[in-house]
Symmetry: C2
Subunit: 311 residues, 2 copies
C-alpha cells in the first residue's frame, strides 16, 4: 500500500462522508453513501488512487467501507468516532433546478478536525472540500509542498466567515464555485466582472471555475476565458453530487497527467463534466460505481464534437 | 439597383418595422427604430444587401428611411399605408432576464399582408419573421425557388395557431426559437428531447436552433448537436433585438457564403451571435449602425478561442 501512495501524483480530498436520503421526481434513495469526499473519490478513482480524509460515526456500515476498498480509494484517513455519521435529506423540484433540504444532521461531522498522516502530508494534489475555511486552512498548513490545491466553498461561508475564506483563497491555485456563489462573493451580477474581482482575491496566476448547472462552466485564468457547455443529457435522475463528481474527475485527471497548464485544465474540465454527467444518470453514487474509463473517453470525444468549430 | 438585387445570394426578410419605447436599468429610448425587419436587416447588411418586406404608417420618419438607405438595405418592399406605424413599449428587469410589455399598438401592422414584387419572388435566402403562420405560408407560396428558408415564431402562435404553424414548419429549412418556446412546442422540458420531437415536425434534414439567452444556443441537425455559448459581455445595456440581430447575422453570412452545410451553419451561428453581442451594447439599433465587419471578425476569433479545446 505504501508504494502506491508514495507516487508523485497523490491526490487528497478533505470533505464529508455522509448518508443521504434523496427524493427526486424520478427516484429516491435512503441512507445512501454520500458526502463530498465519497462522490469526489469515486469520480477521481478513474484516473488515480485518491485518498480521503473525513469522519464517520459508529453506524458507518462495513458495506460502504468495502465500496471504497473495492475502488482502491485510500481510506486510511477516514476517522471513525463516537456518534452517528453525518446525515442529509433533500428533495428536488420537478425540473431538478432547485432543491429543498429536508434535514441536516451534522453528527460526528460537527467535531471534525482533520489531522493528516505523515503520508498524506506529502500529497501533491489537494482538494479542500466545502468545510469551514478555518479547517481548510489548517489542512493546508499540514501539507508539505503541494503542486496544485483546489478549493470548494458555499454561500454559507461567504456570508458567515468571509475574512477566513479570503485568507484561504490567497493560498490555493483553484476555486470552484457556482454562479450564485460567484455573484455573492464578488458582489457583481455579471459573471465576467465577478470573475475578474475574484481572481484578484486569489494569488497570482490562479484559476477560477464558475459552474452554471445545466449550462456548463466558465474557467478564468489571467486574461483567458474558457467556456464549456453542459454535457447533453436527456435523462437526469439525481443531481446530487454532480459538483463533487466534477471536482473529482477534474482533479483526478490533473493528478494523473501532472500538467497544470491552462490547456490541460481545459481537458480536465471536460473529464470532470463527463464524469459528472454519468453521476446524475442514476441515484446517489450508483453510476459512479458502474462506469469505466472507456465510457468516459467515449463521452470525451462526443463532447469535443459538440463544441468543435472547425477551421 | 436591379443588378445588385439579382445576385444569387439575395436575402429577404419579412417582418415588422416599428417604433420602440424601451426602458432598461442602463438607458432608455423613445420611438426608436425597431421591429424584427429593422434589426435583422441592419445586422445582415454586414454580409449582403438585404431586402425587407414590411409595413409602416404615414408617421414613419424620413430620417428612418434614410437609415435603411444609408446601409444599402433594399426597402422597395416597405409598404407605406394609411395609419400609424406599429409601436411597442417595454421595460426590463434589473438583471435584464425578464421584460414587461408596457404597450403594443399594432396599428398598420394589423392589416399587413405581404405581397412580393417579382424581384423579391426570386429570393434564394428567405427569413420569415415572427408573424402569423398563415402569412408566413402565404409569403413562402410567392417565392419561386428558395435555397434556404428560416422561420421565427413565438409562444403566442404556438398556443393559438398550432395547426397553421405546423403546416409552415413542414416547408422551411430552419426554425429559430428560444428554450421556452421549444419546450412549449414539443411539450418536453428536456431540450435534447424537445429538439428530437421538433425535428420530426419539420421536413427531412432541417435545422433547429434553440436560443438560451445569455447561455448561448444549441443547433440540431439529424443526429448532430452543436453548442455555442453566449459571447462574454460585461456590459449589456439593452437586449431588445438580440434575437433578430442573431438571425440577421446568421442568414446574412449564410447568404454571402452560399454554403448550407452543418459546418457552415456553425460558423453562421458564431457570426449571428457576434452581431447580436454588439447590438445589446447600446440602446435600440445604435450599435448595429456603428459596427463594421472588421469588428465582427475580431470577435469571431475571440469566440473561437473561448471554446477551443485544442488537440
Amino acid at each position: 500500500v505504501k508504494n502506491i501512495l508514495s507516487n508523485s501524483n497523490r491526490l487528497l480530498i478533505i470533505g464529508s462522508v455522509a448518508y443521504d436520503s434523496i427524493k427526486t421526481p424520478f427516484g429516491h434513495a435512503k441512507n445512501a453513501l454520500g458526502g463530498s469526499a465519497s462522490y469526489f473519490s469515486l469520480a477521481a478513482r478513474q484516473f488515480v488512487r485518491p485518498s480521503i480524509v473525513a469522519v464517520v460515526g459508529e453506524d458507518f456500515k462495513p458495506r460502504d467501507l468495502k465500496t471504497f476498498q473495492k475502488f482502491k480509494v485510500d481510506i486510511s484517513g477516514l476517522q471513525k468516532t463516537k456518534g452517528k455519521t453525518f446525515r442529509w435529506g433533500g428533495e428536488y423540484s420537478f425540473d431538478l433546478n432547485s432543491r429543498t433540504t429536508i434535514f441536516t444532521e451534522l453528527n460526528v461531522f460537527e467535531g471534525f478536525y482533520p489531522l493528516l498522516s505523515d503520508s498524506h502530508q506529502n500529497s501533491k494534489y489537494v482538494f479542500l472540500g466545502n468545510i469551514h475555511p478555518k479547517l481548510q486552512k489548517s489542512v493546508l498548513s499540514q501539507i508539505r509542498q503541494a503542486k496544485f490545491v483546489g478549493l470548494d466553498t458555499m454561500n454559507y461561508w461567504i456570508e458567515r466567515t468571509l475574512p477566513e475564506l479570503k485568507a484561504v483563497l490567497k493560498l490555493v491555485n483553484l476555486l470552484v464555485i457556482n454562479d450564485s456563489e460567484a455573484r455573492e462573493l464578488s458582489k457583481e451580477h455579471n459573471l465576467y466582472k465577478a470573475a475578474k474581482k475574484i481572481l484578484v482575491m486569489m494569488k497570482l496566476n490562479s484559476f477560477l471555475i464558475i459552474k452554471r448547472g445545466e449550462h456548463g462552466l466558465l474557467m478564468f485564468h489571467q486574461n483567458s476565458i474558457f467556456n464549456l457547455p453542459g454535457y447533453p443529457l436527456e435523462d437526469v435522475v439525481d443531481p446530487t453530487g454532480a459538483g463533487d463528481s466534477f471536482a473529482g474527475g477534474f482533479m483526478g485527471y490533473l493528478a494523473k497527467s501532472g500538467n497544470i497548464t491552462f490547456e490541460n485544465l481545459k481537458r480536465a474540465c471536460v473529464y470532470g463534466s463527463v464524469t459528472a454527467s454519468f453521476c446524475v444518470e442514476k441515484m446517489a453514487t450508483i453510476q459512479l460505481q458502474k462506469i469505466s474509463l472507456i465510457g468516459i473517453k467515449e463521452r470525451y470525444i462526443k463532447f469535443k464534437a459538440l463544441t468543435n468549430l472547425g477551421a
